[in-house]
Symmetry: C2
Subunit: 218 residues, 2 copies
DNA sequence: ACTGACTGACTGACTGTTCAGTATAGGGGA
DNA sequence: TCCCCTATACTGAACAGTCAGTCAGTCAGT
């Protein structure tokens, strides 16, 4: 479906440019969007702040492009992982795993912080809001497609796939917030189990929690 | 009790102090936590910036107290509304309604933005993180209690109430993000219906989406 | 020599915080 | 009553630090 997504991502091949974008992403993840200074980004690359301005006209443009770059990276990884999984329930579990567990091969370990910052900045910055809406729409469409495939294959019960996509993406967003904030009541494993239990119950497929987090069921 | 908390108690009763706190909350909701200037708060109250520093030693302390103040206000309203509802399913619906629909009598209309900012700042500010964790723990406990009551009364099916609390609070958080960001795919009414459908299916109680979601309480 | 990558040094704006000082209210004494 | 004294609320102005953005100019490759 989305085999030609490389176009937009490879528009900028300038290595210095992508180097700066990557550095900006690191700084944003560490210090936060609002606390990111051009000097920090420049120092991380090992160049002068003026060079950052040379490549990106303003700070706003740098940060906006960095956010979009993060989205591209995240989805490139995500689709690569997803394509290798044959069953719909397996792909659904992969989606939940990517969202809840930090040791997956998708995105940086602190990508949750980036998400929260994305939402926060999207509140008031139209450029960020556009990226966010695109990102979420794409994410929901991914879930919807998996649900649809599973229903067509008889793995899932028939029900409104859009509805499931909205509910499940919201659930995952909410859980990722608790994980990002290290809430003691919501560990990564618990979030994973909660989301999977939820999805399996909703879609009517069998799923058993792994050994270490298995608990009694009614 | 007076020896250690007398200062704090009198502090909260100072009208000028609460006036500044309220103004700070308004500015935070409008401009965002990171973009809030003490000059803005002072101007809204009609005093000099120096007076704000006179009451709150630093900007950080002002903002931290403002956030805590918001939490207090929100829960005061929330518990008042909840107490008047007899059935557990009714209280659960009220919880969802408070979260999803903007015209309820709980909190300011833009309290979602405040929540997102709360999460964002909690990522890196320990003082805010403490308020956030308290807030969420209280919120989950509220849900858990309602679920437990409903199960005891036979309204809900038996299942782990903690599990339901984690899942439902996460779902509501995720939906509130989409609402706050005005995502075209998730209107307030749709979020409300999604959450209620989810909860009723999970807990096994009957719920029908209203023909037209009632708004503006008569 | 021309172009593009790159830099050091500067500026200009913003803003949290301080501080010296003003005004007002109240209390106590004569 | 009048005056003095003190504490409290409050302000205008300035200070000090931070940073995005600019610019003239250097350096390397062609």
């Amino acid at each position: 479906m989305s085999s030609t997504t490389a176009g937009a991502a490879t528009v900028e091949l300038d290595p210095r440019r992508t180097q700066i974008l990557r550095a900006a992403l690191e700084v944003i993840a560490e210090r936060g969007y609002g606390e990111t200074r051009i000097a920090d980004v420049a120092e991380r690359v090992g160049v002068s702040p003026a060079l950052v301005m040379y490549y990106f006209k303003t700070k706003d443009r740098l940060l906006a492009e960095a956010i979009r770059h993060a989205e591209d990276l995240w989805y490139a990884d995500g689709t690569r992982v997803m394509e290798a999984i044959p069953t719909a329930s397996g792909r659904l579990e992969a989606l939940v795993r990517i969202t809840c567990l930090s040791d997956e091969e998708v995105g940086p370990s602190d990508s949750w912080a980036l998400w929260i910052d994305l939402w926060c900045q999207a509140l008031r910055r139209p450029a960020v809001a556009a990226v966010r809406e695109e990102f979420d729409a794409h994410w929901r469409e991914t879930i919807r497609a998996v649900v649809h495939d599973g229903q067509a294959a008889g793995e899932f019960e028939p029900m409104d796939a859009d509805e499931v996509a909205v509910a499940l993406s919201a659930l995952l967003d909410g859980l990722s917030i608790q994980i990002a904030l290290h809430d003691p009541a919501v560990t990564e494993e618990r979030a994973f189990a909660t989301a999977m239990r939820f999805a399996s119950r909703l879609l009517g497929f069998a799923w058993e929690p792994p050994e270490q987090v298995r608990r009694h069921r009614a």
